[in-house]
């Protein structure tokens, strides 16, 4: 394929990681997600953008069945991970979440030491055979999250004592440590200052080499900076999905255009 739409971006067609067909989400009577079809590729950053309340978080939480924890929430349609339906009754959501990790909007480190925060996932999933293994996983994850140099001398200090940006990177390290295949991030930078945001964005770009990353963001600049694919949601519909460059330079739907030019928000 030799189209002109490729900007100076590393966009190559990869393999399919997650696909949704006719996905519907209801909160009781509220129809929050309507007929969403989307293909999320491996080793690629996909950004979900859209006005507040349009269902970005809701859809993101469908991808690792975090919506199961909400009693009134009901999901219909089909969502597949590597070709397997994740809403199959035989699928164990706990096992699914070990493969599809999540980072939340507000940094939420456990009130335990930095080490224990990162080691928690490997411990419950039995990823480390011994203490040396665990130490290695923790160091590797903290390095991936660009936090190692800042905390290597105080791994036993409480994770809640770090700054906001450090806490969020700790949460990313914690998610990375369980070796997921997909990393879901719900507005990971919304509670961070610009410098911490820049660090996390840089990190996301690096994570792409190992994971497929899905990030919800309310900042279009951020979507443009970090993602290769962008999905624009509006009132529960997936309005437009495509290469990030296309969406921002050449939106095909008038709603997308008004949103990125700031007319709906």
């Amino acid at each position: 394929m030799n189209e002109m739409t490729m900007i100076d971006r590393d966009v190559t067609t990869g393999t399919l990681k997650i696909s949704a067909r006719k996905a519907q989400v209801y909160y009781g009577e509220t129809h929050a997600i309507k007929d969403v079809d989307i293909d999320i590729e491996d080793k690629m950053v996909t950004a979900f953008i859209g006005p507040s309340g349009c269902g970005k978080s809701t859809f993101l939480r469908c991808l690792n069945r975090m919506n199961d924890t909400i009693d009134i929430c009901r999901v219909e349609g089909q969502i597949q991970l590597d070709g397997q339906d994740i809403y199959d009754p035989k699928v164990d959501p706990v096992q699914l979440r070990a493969r599809v990790g999540m980072v939340f909007q507000k940094p939420n480190p456990f009130p335990k030491s930095i080490f224990d925060n990162v080691a928690y996932g490997p411990r419950i999933h039995g990823l480390a055979r011994n203490r040396a293994d665990l130490d290695e996983i923790v160091e590797k994850s903290l390095r991936r999250a660009a936090l190692w140099d800042e905390v290597k001398d105080r791994l036993q200090a409480p994770g809640t004592g770090l700054s906001g940006g450090q806490q969020q990177r700790l949460c990313i390290a914690r998610a990375v440590a369980t070796a997921p295949e997909v990393l879901l991030m719900d507005e990971p930078c919304s509670a961070l200052d610009p410098i911490a945001t820049a660090q996390v964005e840089e990190l996301i770009d690096e994570l792409r080499s190992n994971f497929s990353v899905v990030i919800v963001t309310h900042s279009m600049q951020q979507a443009a900076r970090v993602s290769q694919r962008t999905a624009f949601f509006h009132l529960g519909n997936l309005v437009e999905f495509g290469e990030t460059g296309d969406i921002f330079t050449n939106p095909s739907d008038p709603r997308t255009e008004s949103y990125i030019t700031g007319r709906i928000g």
């Binding site: 924890t69 009693d71 979440r97 999540m102 980072v103 939340f104 939420n108 928690y120 999933h125 409480p158």
Partner: protein, 456 residues
């Protein structure tokens, strides 16, 4: 320097904006004045309320202390008693089994004689009779002496110095409760006897000592207030607290965790929730009736036993523990649960690894407050027979849980019901012990909470 600066334009030399008819910042406008007046009135009201509360507390505590502290000291009389072999061992073979045939009745005259002789030695005992002398000493003295002789038969024929508990009236006289005037009207003591007490005191034969038997000893009958102790009641209360802790804590915490973290939100759980709150408000005597019907009449458990008391108090404490545990589980931020679930922890792991440790201080506090409530509870225990007069200490648990015992608050109630005024002092003393236990428990609650919270 601050005097001159306020005339100067700040910094740039620009002219100051005209103030117009707005008031000076240093002037209070009428609205602000009114607001401050309201604030002052509210503060004064609050302070008054606090003062009234503190005053009531001070009056309560000081009256309990004033009445109850004397119970912790007791009057003792030194009596050298000649253990007359002719009376105590008529067979002359020093066999304790045969010496048992001499009842306390036989010991009584020896004590009187001993005291008389001690008075004679000091030239004090001319005008008193043996009966009057014997009346100074507790009726339990003869039993105490008999126990000693049966345990040490070889001491017969010697003169032993006994330290007997004085009669309650004598004790009352030294503590100012009994006076010459009241003694004149009292069949149990006469002014002559009190004069004798004065002499004994001058001679150094009579003294007040700290009264361990009040705390560790068993209760005594209504005409021996000087010997009454609350040992059995303390043990009974301790056993019941043990039962409550062992049952109510795990059941309460498990129920709360299930309701808060696992149970679906539906009509059924709503009903359970409402009813738990209602249970917390049920009068405690109702739990006593329930306990009587279920544990004693239906399950056939023994009356007056700490196990039954503990079970009844468990029922009563459960709602308190469940409510406070649920409140502290609720106060754990949901983001912690999300964090754990998002990493692939199961619900149970999320709860036990992350939520429960954070909720622990609240759970502990709730439990200890529940226990403290249970410790002071009287009404339900009376219905299950714990008002009975119990003199024998129960064994160690678990067997002791099924033997009759008393409980501290019931003991207080019991003593206030007795006619001898010496029991008023005893009851207040028991209240002091009860309050000390409650303060200790609350202190433990505070310390535990601090320790848990200080981890981060």
């Amino acid at each position: 320097m601050s005097d001159s600066t306020h005339d100067l334009p700040p910094g740039s030399g620009l002219p100051i904006a005209p103030r117009g008819d707005r008031p000076l910042l240093t002037e209070l406008d009428p609205r602000t004045k009114k607001r401050y007046a309201a604030e002052r009135r509210f503060k004064a009201l609050g302070l008054t309320a606090v003062c009234i509360g503190v005053l009531c507390l001070v009056v309560l505590v000081s009256s309990v202390l004033r009445q109850g502290l004397p119970a912790f000291t007791q009057t003792f009389i030194d009596v050298p008693v000649y253990l007359d072999p002719a009376t105590l061992d008529p067979d002359g073979n020093r066999d304790p089994e045969q010496m048992k045939s001499v009842l306390t009745f036989g010991y009584q005259p020896l004590i009187a004689a001993g005291l008389e002789r001690a008075l004679d030695d000091r030239g004090l005992g001319e005008q008193v009779t043996a009966d009057e002398v014997a009346g100074l000493i507790s009726r339990g003295a003869a039993a105490q002496m008999r126990d000693y002789v049966l345990a040490n038969p070889e001491k017969l024929g010697e003169t032993i110095d006994f330290n007997f508990v004085a009669n309650g009236r004598v004790d009352g006289y030294l503590k100012g409760r009994v006076t010459m005037e009241s003694a004149a009207l009292d069949s149990q003591i006469s002014p002559e006897q009190l004069q004798l007490v004065d002499k004994l005191r001058d001679a150094g034969l009579i003294e007040k000592k700290f009264n361990w038997a009040f705390i560790t000893g068993p209760d005594a009958s209504g005409n021996r207030p000087e010997a009454a102790g609350m040992g059995v009641a303390i043990i009974g209360s301790a056993y019941m607290m043990l039962v409550v802790l062992v049952l109510a804590l795990p059941i309460g915490v498990a129920a709360s965790i299930y309701l808060e973290e696992f149970a679906p939100q539906n009509r059924f759980t709503d009903i359970i929730e409402v009813n738990i709150s209602n249970l917390a408000a049920v009068p405690s005597i109702v739990f006593g009736i329930l306990g009587l019907a279920i544990f004693i009449n239906w399950a056939g458990l023994p009356q007056s036993a700490p196990i039954v008391g503990g079970l009844v108090l468990t029922l009563m404490t459960l709602p308190t523990i469940i409510i406070s545990t649920r409140a502290s589980l609720k106060s754990v931020p949901p983001s912690i649960r999300d964090g754990a679930l998002g990493l692939g922890a199961s619900k149970m792991q999320a709860v036990f690894h992350h939520v429960l440790p954070l909720a622990a201080p609240g759970i502990l506090t709730g439990t200890i407050i529940g226990l403290a409530q249970a410790l002071g509870e009287t009404a339900p225990l009376m219905l299950i027979g714990m008002v009975a007069f119990v003199r024998d200490f129960p064994d160690a648990p678990p067997a002791g849980l099924f033997e009759p015992a008393s409980a501290l608050p019931v003991q207080v109630y019991n003593w206030t019901q007795r006619s001898d005024p010496a029991f008023v002092e005893r009851a207040s003393g028991a209240i002091i012990v009860l309050l000390i236990f409650l303060v200790l428990m609350n202190t433990v609650a505070i310390i535990l909470r601090r320790r848990f919270e200080r981890r981060w």
